[in-house]
Amino acid sequence: MVCDTPTGEAVRAGVFDGSFVLTAMATLSPLPVIAAIAAAIHFGWPPGGTRAADDEHA
């Protein structure tokens, strides 16, 4: 059950304010950078420069 006390309402107002999307993007911003670097390692950089490490199951 969602907290309906004054504190609970203040928390909801503080989290889901006008800047929620921007704050979420800022909070999660390291994630795509790390994913991009991991992808570069996995598939080889620059693309096509080396054999891609794709799903070559034995």
Binding site: T7, A10, V11, G14, V15, T23, A24, A26, T27, L28, S29, P30, L31, V33, I34, A35, I37, A38, A39, I41, H42, F43, G44, T50, R51, A53, D55, E56, H57, A58
Partner: protein, 161 residues
């Protein structure tokens, strides 16, 4: 790095970044409580603000959980391939590189560029934030060195297959 190492290294990097994120959250946010996700923007001066911090810490931990799950899945896929050079040292190198990558990228973006928080919030940008970046560089260097030291045997194994 030899191509046959790439699947294990990339899995280790993603897994290491996820575990590094958990280490950060558990040590700094929860045990030491020197910062939370948005302490650079929202002071922890009321119960409501502390709970708002807890929400954004949860978002951060959700992201590190996704990285950890993705890394485990990638490692499982890599372990099933015969053409992959899967050694403990290569995996350990990937894990260290991933942890270092987390510290460097998160430190650079969150601590120095966006100022969402700092390692010790009451000090603002401090020696601890620079040490956090340095720890990232050191872990990446150590991890990459381990990966490169296995490249020769990976190439030899690929050549004899």
């Amino acid at each position: 790095m030899h191509d046959s190492q790439r699947p294990v290294v990339s899995a280790g990097v993603v897994l290491g970044a996820g575990l590094g994120g958990f280490f950060d959250g558990i040590l700094f946010h929860q045990l030491l409580q020197v910062h939370n996700m948005l302490t650079g923007r929202i002071p922890k001066d009321t119960i409501a603000n502390v709970e708002i911090q807890m929400f954004w810490d949860g978002m951060f931990h959700a992201a590190t959980w996704l990285l950890t799950v993705a890394g485990m899945w990638m490692l499982f896929r890599a372990a099933r391939r015969r053409d992959v050079h899967a050694t403990g040292k290569t995996l350990l190198g990937g894990l260290a590189t991933g942890w270092g990558l987390f510290n460097f990228v998160e430190g650079l973006i969150d601590h120095h560029l966006l100022h969402l928080h700092h390692v010790v919030e009451r000090l603002g940008v401090s020696i601890f934030d620079w040490a956090f970046l340095a720890s990232g560089v050191a872990l990446i260097a150590a991890g990459w060195s381990m990966i490169r030291s296995e490249a020769g045997s990976a190439a030899q194994r690929a050549g004899t297959r």
